[in-house]
Structure formats: structure tokens, C-alpha cells
């Protein structure tokens, strides 16, 4: 992370960092079948996608389309039935491999998953000493430095998460992921429960982080506008069983600001995407499944 990454809302975004060497993801023909008491539920059906290192990809789809399943497989929380997932050309998950979570793929969850019994600093530094490289003091110093760099947050280091607003909690969570220098950031509808104003601020915050670090980001959302605004690619998934319906290249310049949402380029792109998603939503509706959440 470079210095000016997230100082405040008015700070201009830094120029886009170079593509990193790591963070290339390859999802090949992945199928996931849940088998609760014998009833087959196919969550993912032959899903494939490639992400170059430094890509910002958003995945959009109705509830139950398997987008969280995909993220759980990537994060190492869940197994897959068939297919393979590679991270930087190394096999991450295949049929029969044990799910292996790692600090190179930390997830930011939609409900927020800071540990409420730890202070902000303890949360942020939780993963740092596991590798045996840092002492408690070094980890704390690094944690404070990251908090300070991310919008002068060092002042809340000894607060507990319940004392913070949801936006602040999410920022801390993102710092907790970034401090481990992950190859890929996995964001599972992180701003879902927020009102529009806070959501917009978090968008700017995330975009600045992306500008500065150029981490590979997989951003799961049900909100198409959010996806188009943030990502370089938007993948629209079908309802269960989840397959890829559309792969939209978002050819909008960076750095991005909310004014972009009024531009012709953005609106044209949105129109095309909305039509495609509506078609899929209608199919889901006709089949009696839950609508686009």
C-alpha cells in the first residue's frame, strides 16, 4: 500500500499501481453439489473464469446463484465436487483436496466478522504473529501504522468493534485483510447493509485502496450499478445451478468518481447489463425462485 492511499474523502486518488506479480486466479469447470439428506442441490454447474493478477472483478447474481459458494471455495472454507481452482498456477482446490484457508485470501463478509471481544488493534494484528516473523510489539507497530495510513484510524485502535459505525467496522475489516498482504481480496457483499451515503463513501474508499495496491479483487454483490461502477469486469451469474450468464468488460477510466455514474458511457453499459439481468431474473421468477435480492 502506498502512502496516500486513503487519507480522507477529499484526497485525490493516486495513480493506478502497476499490475502485481501475484494474484492470478483460474477457476476451471467447477461444479459444487450439496447433498443435504440425499436431495441434490447443484450450487455451481461447470463454472469457469480467469482473473489476471490485479483485476477487479465483480460477480453479480440472484440469491442462491452460487456466488458465495464460489467465494467459499476460493477462500478454502468449502470443497468443490469437480473442477479445479488455481491461484498463481498452483492448485488451490480440486476434487478430494482438503479445503485450506490462508491469509493470502482473506474474506470480508457482508454481516461483518470482526471479533467483538478484541480491540480494533487486536483484530487487525490477529493474523500477523502466526507466521512467527513478528513479535507482539512489531505486530502492534505495523497494525498502528496501517490504521493510521488508512485515514488516521490509529485513534480507534483500542476501541471495541461495537463502538464503531458499520462503515468504520468494514474499513477495519479491510485493513485486517490487507495487512496480511493477500494475493486476492475476497469481498462478499461487504456494503450490503449500508445506506446510500455510507455506501458511496465506502466505494470511494475501496477504489482508492485498489488504485494504491492493485490487489486482485473479487467483489460479490447483488447490486449491478455498484458492480459496474467499481469493477473492470462484471460477471453475471444465472440462478441455480450457477453458471456464467454474461461477462461484461467495463471499459471506464480510472480513477473513478461517482460523477461517472451520470456519464453516457456508464449509462449505455448499464442499460445493456440491466436488460440481460432482467431476462435472467424473469426466468428465476417464473421458476418460483427468490428474486434478485
Amino acid at each position: 500500500m502506498t502512502k496516500a492511499s486513503t487519507a480522507s474523502d477529499r484526497t485525490p486518488s493516486p495513480t493506478l499501481a502497476d499490475r502485481p506479480a501475484t494474484g492470478k486466479v483460474s477457476v476451471r469447470n467447477v461444479t459444487k453439489v450439496y447433498d443435504p439428506e440425499g436431495a441434490h442441490v447443484v450450487a455451481l454447474d461447470g463454472f469457469s473464469m480467469e482473473m489476471e493478477a490485479g483485476d477487479f472483478v465483480a460477480i453479480v447474481g440472484p440469491s442462491g446463484c452460487g456466488k458465495s459458494t464460489l467465494m467459499n471455495i476460493l477462500a478454502g472454507f468449502d470443497t468443490l465436487s469437480t473442477g479445479e481452482v488455481y491461484l498463481d498456477d498452483q492448485l488451490l482446490a480440486g476434487p478430494g483436496t482438503k479445503p485450506l484457508p490462508g491469509s493470502d485470501r482473506v474474506v470480508v463478509f457482508q454481516q461483518g466478522a470482526l471479533f467483538p471481544w478484541m480491540t480494533v488493534l487486536q483484530n487487525v494484528t490477529y493474523g500477523l504473529m502466526k507466521k512467527g516473523e513478528l513479535t507482539r510489539e512489531e505486530a502492534d507497530a505495523k497494525g498502528l501504522e496501517f490504521l493510521e495510513r488508512s485515514g488516521n484510524l490509529a485513534k480507534i485502535a483500542s476501541s471495541y468493534p461495537t463502538q464503531l459505525s458499520s462503515g468504520m467496522q468494514r474499513r477495519v475489516e479491510i485493513i485486517r485483510a490487507l495487512i496480511n498482504d493477500p494475493k486476492i481480496l475476497l469481498l462478499d457483499e461487504p456494503f450490503r447493509a449500508m445506506d446510500t451515503v455510507n455506501k458511496n463513501r465506502m466505494h470511494q474508499h475501496l477504489l482508492r485502496i485498489y488504485q494504491a495496491t492493485r490487489k486482485t479483487i473479487m467483489f460479490i454483490t447483488h447490486d449491478l450499478e455498484e458492480a459496474l461502477f467499481l469493477a473492470d469486469r462484471v460477471i453475471v451469474m444465472t440462478t441455480r445451478p450457477g453458471t456464467m450468464k454474461l461477462d461484461i468488460a467495463v471499459d471506464l477510466p480510472r480513477p473513478r468518481h461517482h460523477a461517472l455514474m451520470a456519464s453516457d458511457a456508464y449509462l449505455a453499459m448499464k442499460q445493456q447489463a440491466v436488460l440481460a439481468v432482467r431476462e435472467e431474473a424473469k426466468r428465476a421468477f417464473d421458476r418460483g425462485e427468490r428474486e434478485m435480492a
Binding site: S103, Q111, F115, W117, Q163, R176
Partner: protein, 277 residues
């Protein structure tokens, strides 16, 4: 760790001392209505006894109770010994229920094998009221004291265990996942994630447990003991000295209240994050 007494206030916004004083001791926050209602309660009680309202003919008024208390009990070692004995029983029953109930609940929630083996028996015995254990307990345990502590233990044990079992099952899956992502070993996940996550459930178990413990110990003392506050109250009835019954009742109420305060203090110390806002 910060001073536990200051955890109710947000120390970044307001200095703790100032806020404490304001919320606790100024006239504006003093509940004068509560004071009035307590005064009215005692006046009504005294009035009902003085006028001999139906049912009140055999019941002493507050003045008589206070007289009896000051004359016969306030300076009586026997009376204070009753306090001590009851508190000891509550302490041991409660402490044993925690020491055995907490790991028991944790195992029930984490080990499927243990759960499958033990939970049916647990559920079979749980509905039996603690006092129904009295006869069997007296037959089984060698001393009266141990049987009373056992009954007290039974009262708190099931409540504590079932609360912790519930607490384990409601641990957020995301927390476990994240801890694993961040490289935590199984033992560290247990110590740093699961244990703190069930602390609120342990606290609920403690609050409910201490109340049940007092209920049970008093009844057990009335049935099966020759000492303690429960016995004191019962003897007041048997010896036809009603003021003693009321002295006993008030003492029991006070003892329960004091225990609740202690439990509350322990809970605050246990979970500083819950009380810091």
C-alpha cells in the same frame, strides 16, 4: 486492560469520573418515585396489620419485625452464622455447576460423538426439578451438607450447561473461518475465538444459575438441614414466631440481591467489550 469500573462510559468522549458522578449521584437521576413507593409499601403493610384486615391477623407489622430483628438477631452470632452457611452452600453449588457445566456444555456443542452419547440422558434428567432430588440425594451422599450442595449444584448445572451448549451452536461460522484464514491453530481457535464467543452465554448461565441456586438452597434447607437462612425462616414458622419468618425472608432476599451484584461484577470484568459503548 482498563479499570473495570469505568467500562460503562465511553472514555474517549467523556472522562469516566465525571460521567459516573453524573449518572449515579446527582438529584436529577435519583429515583424519588421509587423511594415514595417503598415508603407507601411499608405504610400499607403496617396499616393492614394495625386495622386487622382479613389474613393479616397473624402477620406481624414492619415495626414488630424491625424490633425483633434488632433485639434478637442483629447481634446474634447464630443469625450471622446462618448467612455464612447458606452462602457457603450457594457458593459451592454454583461454583461446581460452573466448573463442571461449562466444559460439559462446550463438549456437547463441539463433539458430535459426545453429544450423541450423552445428550439423550441429559435431556431425560433435565426436566426433573432439583427438589425432587432431595430424598435420593440424602440416601446417596454421606453427609447432610454434601447432599444439600449436590441439590444446589443440580439446580444450576442444567441451566448453565444448556445455555453454553446453545452459545456454542450460535458461534458465527465466519469467525471460525476467518481465524483459520488468519492462520490460527485448533487450540488457538478454541481459546481465542470459541471461548470468548460463548462468554455471553456463560454470563446468562451465571445470572440464571445464581437465582436458581438461592431458590433451591432455601427449599433444601427447609426440608433437610438444621442450619442456614432457609432453616431460620422455617423455624420461625414452626415455633410460631411470625416476625422471625419475615426476618428470614428479607435476609434471603438481601442475600440473593448481594449475590446478583457479585455475579454482575464478574460478568463486567469478563466481557469488557460488552459494556464499552
Amino acid at each position: 486492560m482498563s479499570d473495570p469500573m469505568s467500562t460503562t462510559v465511553n472514555d474517549t468522549a467523556n472522562p469516566p469520573v465525571k460521567r459516573l458522578r453524573k449518572s449515579r449521584w446527582t438529584i436529577s437521576s435519583w429515583n424519588w418515585r421509587g423511594f415514595v413507593s417503598i415508603v407507601i409499601f411499608f405504610l400499607a403493610w403496617q396499616g393492614a396489620v394495625s386495622f386487622g384486615l382479613p389474613g393479616f391477623t397473624k402477620i406481624p407489622g414492619p415495626s414488630e419485625v424491625v424490633q425483633t430483628f434488632v433485639r434478637d438477631y442483629l447481634f446474634s452470632p447464630h443469625y450471622w452464622h446462618s448467612w455464612l452457611v447458606s452462602f457457603e452452600r450457594v457458593f459451592w453449588g454454583f461454583a461446581l455447576a460452573q466448573i463442571i457445566g461449562i466444559p460439559f456444555g462446550l463438549f456437547l456443542g463441539t463433539s458430535r460423538v459426545f453429544n450423541n452419547l450423552v445428550f439423550p440422558v441429559f435431556e431425560m434428567m433435565r426436566p426433573i426439578p432439583p427438589l425432587a432430588w432431595v430424598p435420593l440425594s440424602i440416601l446417596f451422599w454421606p453427609t447432610n451438607e454434601s447432599s444439600i450442595i449436590f441439590i444446589t449444584f443440580i439446580g444450576a448445572f442444567f441451566i448453565i450447561t444448556i445455555n453454553i451448549y446453545d452459545g456454542v451452536r450460535s458461534i458465527k461460522q465466519e469467525h471460525i473461518w476467518l481465524a483459520r484464514s488468519l492462520g490460527a491453530s485448533r487450540s488457538r481457535i478454541f481459546l481465542r475465538i470459541m471461548l470468548p464467543a460463548v462468554l455471553p452465554a456463560i454470563a446468562v448461565g451465571m445470572t440464571l444459575g445464581i437465582a436458581v441456586t438461592w431458590n433451591v438452597v432455601i427449599a433444601a434447607e427447609m426440608i433437610a438441614s438444621d442450619s442456614g437462612l432457609g432453616r431460620l425462616t422455617w423455624e420461625g414458622y414452626v415455633s410460631s414466631t411470625p416476625p422471625v419468618v419475615i426476618v428470614g425472608m428479607i435476609s434471603i432476599g438481601l442475600a440473593g440481591f448481594l449475590s446478583t451484584i457479585v455475579v454482575d461484577m464478574i460478568e463486567r470484568r469478563m466481557m469488557p467489550w460488552k459494556y464499552k459503548r
